[in-house]
């Protein structure tokens, strides 16, 4: 037992979640992807055992290894039970027993665990799955999130998440998809989906102001962890993956400075840049460097370069707007979406003035509908009109924006702007 001088022992943050992801991946290789329920039950039992034993005694020196050991033993038990049912001779049973142990132990090697996890990520990102289901399934099986936690993170209800997971599992069962890393063309295509899902996970945490701070932070950290996992695997260490990882690091470095103490939004120009996480910014540069090989310039490269540009400027005034404009031009070529156009116009406003920016926004295809449906368009355009001296139009648009968002923090920010215009 621990004596008075010892600190209470601490588990690494999210250890259970991460171990759950590992165990699910390994056990899926043992029992097959169609047995996901058995796999999850086994993981649950392993945690129960840890909960029971660790609560009353000391933590094992290596909790992670302890958990894996229990899962391994349980796995072998389950297989033995199956073999007993087969009515084999004692001699054959014994032989099978030792070869089973050897085979199972192979799956529990560190390199194989990493491989299994990558397979699981790829399976969750199967192209036939609905994007929403891909995200939910990834959070559940790779990240070890509970249904309730997924619902909180994705701003959904538990029953909706249950439904998504059920749908995804049924699909996996009925299609008997392979628990393998695809090869050739299919590999690159699948990799793109993996990037999209990770990017989505990150943005869900980074942008959704509706979810609570804690779970949003978890989501961003989880996206970074999975992306890192990807880059650490020989097959996943692609330039685009490094670019995506660096983008996440740059963005995450500003996580804490975007929200004030009273839950108000602090805009980029007003953020205290000393509060940015400079360790993460350094990591961002490191991964951005590692991404600059090969001949493919992905959207993640460009978006990361944009984020890096903001991190480079010691204050808002010294932002290199012409470099940013060039980057947005590149991005627009690959990703000609309304949001990219909108962001580009904000850069143009800095370089050529608000009138040029207003014209660009009004030229976005489908802008009439966007202004009525997505709060960000009237919010940005209203702000620009206000700065251009057209206070009436500015107020009208900001009011629309305020009605379109359900986030209190966003409403408050818009309210402040409205007051400044009257």
């Amino acid at each position: 037992m621990s004596t008075g001088t010892e600190q209470p022992q601490q588990l690494v943050d999210h250890l259970f979640r991460h171990e759950a992801g590992k165990m699910i991946a390994v056990l899926t290789r043992v029992f097959g992807i169609t047995n996901l329920e058995l796999v999850e039950d086994t993981v649950q039992e392993t945690f129960l055992k840890a909960l029971q034993v660790w609560r009353y005694g000391q933590l094992p020196d290596n909790p992670s290894a302890w958990l894996m050991r229990v899962a391994r033993n349980r796995t072998i038990d389950l297989i033995r039970r199956q073999q007993k049912l087969a009515n084999l001779s004692d001699e054959l049973s014994k032989q099978l027993q030792s070869s089973t142990e050897n085979a199972v132990d192979q799956f529990f090697l560190d390199t194989e665990i990493a491989d299994s996890q990558l397979r699981m990520i790829f399976a969750c990102c199967h192209p036939a799955l609905h994007p929403e289901d891909q995200v939910a399934l990834t959070l559940r099986t790779v990240s070890g999130f509970g249904v309730q936690e997924i619902a909180r993170a994705l701003m959904s209800t538990e029953s909706a998440i249950q439904k998504r997971l059920y749908r995804a599992r049924e699909f996996i069962k009925s299609e008997t998809i392979l628990f393998e890393i695809p090869v050739g063309q299919e590999f690159s295509a699948r990799l793109e989906i993996v990037y999209t899902v990770l990017y989505l996970l990150f943005n869900e945490g980074y942008n959704s102001l509706k979810a609570d701070e804690l779970i949003r932070h978890d989501l961003c950290a989880e996206a970074i962890r999975l992306c890192k996992l990807l880059t650490e695997h020989r097959l996943g260490a692609e330039p685009s993956a490094f670019a995506l990882l660096s983008l996440m690091c740059f963005q995450a470095s500003r996580f804490g400075s975007r929200i004030g103490e009273d839950n108000t939004i602090i805009l980029l120009q007003k953020q205290d840049r000393n509060k940015w996480d400079h360790g993460l910014i350094r990591l961002g540069y490191y991964y951005l460097n590692r991404s600059s090989t090969g001949n493919k310039l992905s959207v993640y490269h460009i978006e990361s370069a944009i984020a890096a540009e903001h991190c480079l400027a010691p204050d808002f005034g010294s932002t290199n707007w012409s470099a940013l404009l060039h980057l947005y031009d590149c991005l627009l070529e690959q990703k000609p979406t309304p949001v990219v156009r909108l962001n580009r116009s904000i850069v143009v406003a800095q370089l050529e003035g608000v009138h040029a920016a207003i014209d660009l926004i009004l030229d976005i295809p489908g802008i009439r509908v966007l202004l009525e449906q997505h709060y960000i368009y009237p919010a940005v355009l209203g702000d620009l009109y206000g700065r251009a001296g057209n206070c009436n139009e500015g107020r009208r648009l900001l009011q629309i924006a305020s009605q379109l968002t359900s986030s209190l923090a966003e409403k408050r920010l818009l309210q402040e702007k409205l007051e400044a215009l009257s």
């Binding site: 621990s2 600190q7 588990l11 840890a50 609560r55 999130f145 936690e149």
Partner: protein, 113 residues
């Protein structure tokens, strides 16, 4: 002695994160009791068991009580009085999941010297 009763953990359907949080609370509690030199040891009890009862005892399989009152384990602690022991038991982490603590004094019978 602290005797713990509460729901079986497997019935709670905890997520990995919740399991970890629950365990950490127990750890912190034991750490706190140990730091005060109060914690002497303890054990969890497995759910399965046997029960013998009656004039002509019949052996039945456990668990015995309602799900919410399962005997989960015990601590041996050192305290100056029953009141102090009860105060120490306030740190029990499972009150929120309708667990309970029974505080009892172990009777020491002095041996004649």
């Amino acid at each position: 002695m602290f005797i713990f009763r509460g729901p079986a953990y497997e019935d709670l359907n905890l997520t990995p994160e919740e399991s970890q949080a629950s365990m950490q609370k127990w750890y912190d509690w034991i750490g706190e009791l140990s730091a005060k030199g109060r914690y002497m040891g303890g054990d969890p009890l497995l759910k399965q068991g046997k029960m013998l009862q009656g004039n002509k005892p019949v052996v039945t399989d456990g668990p015995f009580a309602e799900g919410k009152e399962l005997l989960g384990g015990y601590f041996i602690i050192k305290a100056e009085s029953l009141e102090e022991a009860a105060q120490l038991a306030m740190g029990f982490p499972d009150f929120k999941i309708s667990g309970s603590v029974e505080v009892r004094e172990i009777m020491k019978i002095p041996m004649p010297s």
